[in-house]
Every structure is written in C-alpha cells, then in structure tokens.
C-alpha cells in the first residue's frame, strides 16, 4: 500500500537519500535504523510530503502521494522529534484543536486516547508545565486520535521511561493489528513481535 521507489534527496550539498526503496503492506512495520545524520528524519519527512525528493516517488494505494496530497494526508499521522503542542494550551485543548481540524471528535474520544497513553492525569495542565516525557504521551494520544492508517514516527520513544517505551511498542502492535502501517525511525530496537517487522538501514553506503 505504501511504496517508496528510488528516492533521491539532497539537503543543500549533501546527498542524503540515495535511491531509497521499500514497500509496506497493511499490518507491517518498517523500522528505519542508522547513525545520526543517516537520513531517517529526511526519509520520514519525504514520505509525509514535507520534503520534495529530486528523484523517485512515494506511492500510496498505487497512486502518487503528491498527486492527491490532501487525501493522502488524511490517512497519515506524522510525529516528529518535538511533540507538536502549544505550550499555552492544555493537552486536552491541544488535541481538541489539532485533531479536531482533521476529524470530528467527541470529548469522550479525547479522554479515552489520553487514558490509553497514560496522559489523562496531566491533561488539564498547560503543556508548558509538563515534562518532555509527559508531552510525548500527549502527542501519542494525538496520533491515536487521528485514526490514521499510516503512522510516520520519528524517534517515538524519546524522553520516555521504560513504561513509556513499552507503551509505544504496544501501540504500534495494536496499529498493525488494525491493518495499519507504521514507519518508525528508531535508535534502539523496539520490543516488537517478529514477522511483522522489516528493518531498513539508512546511510549504509
């Protein structure tokens, strides 16, 4: 369903992505590994459509993702390095607005998602006052709420304690069980069940 073919991308002078290709079907997880600067973030952003590759194509459901950008985006949840949250709003308010513009949300749904990621306790405090790990839990609740088929996660376990890291693994497994696809950049391995996993090493050349 997701197909990346011959992706080449330069960032300034650097040839960051050199002909990256892979496919992912529903229920599959692709883990991107590699050193710092290998291009994991660049690849995720290129798939998300935030970056424009010089060569190659990203295909979703057999059609170019660029061609139907809005359709594609409505099925994608992208979580970058920093949780995209407004410091002056509470976690709950953040989700209400940022996911609310994607799909109609009920307060109960928001509540359930926050509970699922263990963020319910601090959901009504200004995000500014939360720790990095707490913010990430709120952001993960946001990913859940999008009900997106494709998850693009950049270092999803950053700042999370051992419980949190297990949470991420569980959430990914649940997403795969729902026939979703996950492409995640990771620094250390996630405790995921084998069989659904493909690993892609970047910057190997």
């Amino acid at each position: 369903m997701l197909s990346v073919a011959g992706l080449h991308l330069w960032r300034g002078e650097r040839h960051v992505l050199r002909g990256v290709s892979f496919t992912a079907e529903p229920g599959q997880c692709v883990l991107l590994t590699g050193k710092n600067g290998a291009g994991k973030t660049t690849l995720l952003r290129a798939i998300a459509g935030l970056l424009d590759p010089e060569e190659g194509q990203v295909q979703w459901r057999g059609a170019a993702a660029r061609a139907n950008r809005d359709e594609f985006h409505s099925e994608v949840a992208y979580l970058g390095h920093e949780p995209p949250l407004k410091g002056d709003l509470t976690g709950r308010e953040n989700l209400h607005y940022s996911i609310g513009i994607r799909r109609t949300l009920s307060p109960d749904e928001i509540d359930a998602a926050l509970a699922r990621t263990g963020a319910r306790d601090f959901a009504d405090r200004a995000v500014r006052t939360l720790s990095a790990g707490q913010r990430r839990r709120v952001a993960l609740a946001g990913v859940l709420l999008t009900e997106a088929l494709l998850w693009l996660l950049d270092e999803p376990t950053t700042n999370l304690d051992a419980d949190g890291q297990q949470l991420v693994a569980t959430l990914i497994e649940e997403q795969l069980a729902r026939s979703g696809i996950v492409v995640a950049a990771v620094h250390h391995s996630l405790a995921l069940a084998e069989g659904r996993l493909t690993q892609l090493e970047l910057g190997a050349r």
Partner: protein, 245 residues
C-alpha cells in the same frame, strides 16, 4: 513532440551552458553595434526638441533602462514560475541570474532620470510617477535578492523567491496604478513630469533601436551570468568537471 524536446533541452544544465557560451558573444556583439548606430542617430542626427533642446536626448538611455528594468522583472518572474511549476533547475538559475541585472537597469533608469531632471527643472529628484515607480521597483528587486540571500538552501531559496517574484509581478501594475493616481491627485502647476517629447521619426528610430540594443545586451549579460550560475549550482556534477578541464 518537437516542442517538448526543445523544452527539455533547455532544461538541461550542460546544454544551456553550451548554449550560453555560444550565443552570448553574438548577442553582445550585435547589441554593441546597434547601440553605436542608435547613439549616433540619437545624439548626432536627431534634431533637438523644441521645448527641451538637447536635454531630451537623455531619453535614449533613460527610457530603454526603465523599460528593461520592468521587462527583466517579468522575465525573472516567468522563469521563476516555470522553475516552480515544472521544477526545472535551469529556470531557477535564470531567475537568479536576472535579478542583479534588473536591479542595475533600475538604478540606471533612476540615475538617468535624475540627470534629466536637473537641467530640466533644477532638481535632481522629483516625485514624478515614473521615477517613483522605478524606486519602488528597485525595492522589489532588493527584497527578492535579500530573500535569496537570507535562505541557506539553494533549492529552498529558489522556491521561496519564485513565490515572491510571482507575487511581485502581479503587484507591479497595481503599484504603478496607485502611484499614477497619487501623482494625479497632487497635480500642482509646478509638479514635474518626465515626459517624452512628442517625437517625429528622426527622433523615434534611434530610440527603438536603443531599445533593441538594450534588450540584446540584457540577453548577453544574462547568458554570461547564467553560465556562472549553472557552474556554481552544478559544481559537483560530472559535466562541470569536464567543462573546467
């Protein structure tokens, strides 16, 4: 089909480099030749104007400069749009190469306008609508070049400045209209207008020829700058290595 191959050829940096190298001297040579004839026609042959006497001859440099300052901006915007829509690197290089040239034409228009104003009305600067528009055009050029300079990544700078150029070119007529309107409001007897004198053919043909000469000159300079621009952008490509050695 044939137009597409032509289009694609122009999109290839090595091809354009070769094209520029071949044609720049020709454009430059013809431009110089035309300019000499036009200058002779304008400065020597043309009769002096009834009202302005010899001072009107400034038009032979002022008008083409002004006309070109606008034409170059339009060219820049069109090239930038082509680069943005069809994602052609060469088009972006053309746009980048145009900007300083256009800015200089604007400076020339302003300078010659000021030199024209002095003998005519005793003042170097007057808020003539044409001069005022040229000044704002200069600011638009500075903005474009400033934006390019402020963004590190060349590809990103290309795209951002392309949007700016397109927005600018849409605004130029609006700005000109508003400046004309403003000037007509405050029309006082002593307000000056740098008008071209009514011209007979003896005065007119050197002007038209100068216009052509300036355009060819612009083409020559553009091609030379384009070569440098292409070399700089593609410096890691193999064709550049071959060309340089």
């Amino acid at each position: 089909m044939a137009t597409w191959t032509w289009f694609h050829r122009f999109g290839s940096p090595p091809y354009m480099y070769g094209f520029a190298r071949r044609w720049a001297p020709w454009f430059g040579g013809v431009a110089a030749f035309a300019m000499l004839i036009a200058l002779y026609g304008g400065l020597v042959l043309a009769p002096e104007d009834y009202q302005q006497k010899d001072a009107f001859r400034m038009v032979y440099v002022h008008a083409p400069s002004a006309w070109l300052s606008l034409m170059v901006y339009t060219t820049m915007a069109v090239a930038a749009a082509v680069g943005l829509i069809w994602r052609m690197k060469v088009a972006h290089a053309v746009a980048a190469a145009c900007a300083p040239v256009g800015a200089w034409f604007t400076v020339a228009a302003l300078g010659t306008g000021m030199l024209w104003g002095k003998p005519m009305w005793g003042a170097y600067w007057v808020w003539d609508p044409r001069l005022t528009s040229e000044l704002i055009l200069l600011f638009l050029y500075f903005g474009y070049m400033g934006l390019r300079a402020g963004i590190e990544d060349t590809a990103k700078a290309d795209k951002a400045s392309a949007v700016l150029a397109i927005v600018g070119v849409v605004n130029v007529p609006i700005i000109k209209y508003s400046v004309e309107w403003w000037n007509s409001l405050h029309q006082v007897a002593s307000v000056m207008k740098l008008g071209k004198p009514t011209m007979n053919w003896d005065m007119r043909w050197p002007l038209l020829l100068m216009l052509l000469a300036f355009t060819l000159y612009f083409a020559a300079v553009l091609l030379i700058r384009l070569r440098a621009e292409l070399l700089r952008r593609e410096r890691n490509a193999s064709w550049v290595r071959e060309v340089v050695t």
